[in-house]
């Protein structure tokens, strides 16, 4: 089946070449970071995690969200998702790969990466995050491949693959739960120290992940005549709507607890994010942009007329992805460090090398996604012609 990735139009090859170019630029920039140290990033003593770890967090959500196609199909026999689950699984593969690379580029001593395995430390959540992420990667590679393989051979899905699929459903929940635990178990980081961090992560993931997938499907419909049943689009957009409502609801719950309890530590981060504090307000325009984009997308999604109109739906999905990405892929990780434990305000902004390296990682993910989807489409096309 692999050969299907090697047959494509000029546009396909141009796209692949562009991604390879980005990967190359990202790689050389990484070599620069590797030789100079993480000082080339915007990270600091006070804000010691930034753009890389934030992307990891966001992409774990994207990876987990594949379950929103798998679960309705395999547990509720929602038939219109039948041809789409494979996309969820392949998107998970690509997203988990990016997650792992974002951890790698964030390490100060990447050569010693294997110490995590050589000296396994179950009391560290990072150990478990590595465990669940690599497990999820393996599950989705095997499942995705076998689903495609059986389609290719026009055969039934073997029983053991179905068992793996059932395992992958709670496993998807676990990867984002464990990723939330990275943060929510740390004393003294008030923004993160909340029991609803895992549910918040899942809600935003189940809104943003399927939104990204739907957008990709629309692109594929245009570029590759990919057939997306309207019913599937409807169901997915309803899932996205509910998940986004929950996401916003959870965020408001956090604010209620912070402001009604009036406990300074709990208020500080929100204050810094939305109005600025101690003359520092770098995050303020972003946060309000996130709010406006989020509200805009919710209005478009909640009104059935607009949700069902492909044009307004696309606008809703794009703004939803932007809104959740600002909140989770920029603010949540960074603002957890502001103010620092000594109540001092050090701000953070990613540097150019940091952004270029991140773009390189995203390009790797997109390339993997492109190749996998190409193979899937190739297999489908052959089956249709047969």
């Amino acid at each position: 089946m692999l050969e299907k990735a090697l047959q494509g139009s000029k546009i396909y090859w141009a796209w692949v070449a562009a991604l390879l170019g980005l990967i190359g630029i990202g790689f050389f920039t990484y070599l620069y970071q590797y030789s100079q140290g993480l000082g080339v990033t915007g990270l600091s003593r006070d804000v010691s995690w930034g753009f890389y770890i934030a992307q990891l967090t966001y992409l774990v959500g994207v990876a987990a969200s594949g379950v929103m196609l798998v679960l309705p199909y395999y547990l509720h026999d929602h038939k219109t998702f039948g041809k789409l689950t494979i996309l969820g699984e392949f998107m998970a593969v690509s997203a988990v790969l990016m997650c792992m690379m974002f951890v790698l580029v964030d390490l100060g001593q990447p050569k010693r990466m294997l110490n995590v395995i050589l000296f396994p430390t179950p009391n560290s959540i990072l150990f478990w995050d590595m465990f669940v992420l690599s497990g999820y990667l393996g599950l989705n590679i095997v499942i995705g491949w076998m689903v495609l393989h059986s389609e290719n051979k026009r055969g039934e899905l073997p029983k053991w693959v179905k068992i793996l699929i059932y395992i992958s459903i709670p496993w998807a929940i676990s990867i984002h739960t464990v990723t939330a635990f990275l943060y929510s178990g740390l004393p003294g980081r008030h923004l993160w120290l909340t029991a609803i961090l895992a549910p918040r992560f899942l809600a935003s993931a189940f809104a943003a992940g399927p939104a990204i997938l739907l957008l990709i499907m629309f692109v594929m419909r245009k570029a590759a005549n990919f057939h997306v049943p309207d019913k599937a689009v409807n169901t997915l957009s309803i899932i996205i709507t509910y998940a986004m409502i929950l996401n916003v609801f959870f965020l408001l719950l956090e604010m209620f607890t912070a402001f009604y309890s009036n406990i300074p530590g709990h208020i500080h981060a929100f204050e810094y994010m939305f109005v600025g504090s101690h003359g520092k307000w770098a995050m303020v325009p972003w946060m309000w942009a996130s709010v406006l984009l989020g509200v805009f997308s919710l209005v478009l999604l909640i009104v059935p007329k607009w949700r069902k109109n492909p044009k307004t739906l696309v606008a809703a999905l794009i703004t939803l992805v932007a809104s959740t990405w600002i909140e989770k892929g920029m603010a949540l990780v960074v603002v957890g460090f502001i103010p620092n434990p000594l109540d001092q305000y050090t701000e953070y902004a990613p540097t150019l090398p940091e952004l270029v390296i991140s773009a390189g990682v995203y390009a790797v993910g997109l390339l993997v996604l492109t190749l996998l989807f190409k193979i899937a489409l190739g297999v489908r096309a052959e089956a249709a012609n047969a």
Binding site: S44, V103, G108, P187
Partner: protein, 260 residues
């Protein structure tokens, strides 16, 4: 204790277990625990304790004593002098009361307390979150309570920095050796990409010396000793004075006490 010595002891322990035909589990190395000498032994005159702790007597401190303590620490541990505050390495440093004890700051703190900075450092917590989160055991708590770093095992993930509620950990964002004046050959310099922090001068204790900062303070501004020994100077100071620890509500059980 260096790893060669530790490995030698392990092998010796295994051999001994084998020779005396200990139960199979032991012979396989499953239950063989090599007793670590108290403290970081290696020298006959090593200082050892069951639980090292420090008392900072902020009343006694002068600006001069604080500077002397910080300078002694930086010199003893090859702490680089990095001008960019974002990349700074700090083991022992000065902080204002409102920063060291943000929960207690307010409009009615005595001016003396508000004005005079105090020394802050790693609290060598009894329940250290940094140790809990480290994915490689590169940071660990010794039997005598000191929380130390293995600079050679650290992968630089900085999870410990997120976990430490005292901001006591620093990361080498740049090559620290470029920012060293004179190098102290008795303590390793570090490479870029690893985390570091105060180690209660574990290497000096092993040589029978008190921590550098304690030694630099001539007026008992810093008191260092064994909490398990009722007659130790720290216990005396704790009995005679009301002391604070930083952020006790977090359950980390800091072992650096402040007399305000």
């Amino acid at each position: 204790m260096d790893s060669a010595r530790r490995n030698f002891l392990k092998i010796a322990g295994l051999a001994a277990a084998g020779l005396t035909l200990k139960p199979a589990g032991n012979a396989l190395g499953m239950g063989v625990i090599v007793p670590e000498p108290e403290g970081a032994a290696g020298f006959d005159n090593a200082l050892s304790a069951k639980r090292w702790a420090m008392v900072v007597d902020t009343r006694k401190f002068t600006a001069q004593a604080r500077k002397a303590a910080v300078a002694a620490c930086n010199k003893a541990h090859n702490v680089p002098d990095i001008k960019n505050s974002k990349h700074a390495i700090k083991w022992l440093w000065e902080a204002n009361f409102k920063n060291a004890f943000p929960e207690m700051a307010g409009p009615h703190v005595p001016p003396q307390v508000e004005r005079e900075p105090m020394l802050v450092l790693c609290n060598h917590c009894d329940s250290p979150p940094c140790v809990r989160v480290c994915p490689t055991k590169a940071t660990f708590k010794r039997a005598d309570g000191i929380v130390v770093m293995d600079f050679h095992r650290c992968i630089g993930c900085r999870y410990c920095m997120a976990a430490c509620p005292y901001g006591s950990r620093s990361f080498n964002y740049v090559d620290p050796r470029q920012h060293l004046g004179q190098t102290n050959v008795d303590f390793p310099t570090r490479t870029k990409g690893v985390v570091e922090k105060c180690n209660f001068c574990a290497e000096r204790l092993a040589r029978g010396q008190k921590p550098a900062c304690v030694e630099a303070c001539r007026n008992n501004e810093l008191i260092f000793g064994d909490l398990a020994d009722p007659n130790s100077s720290v216990n005396q100071a704790l009995r005679q004075n009301f002391t604070l620890v930083r952020k006790p509500e977090l359950g980390t059980q800091p072992q650096v006490y402040y007399i305000i």
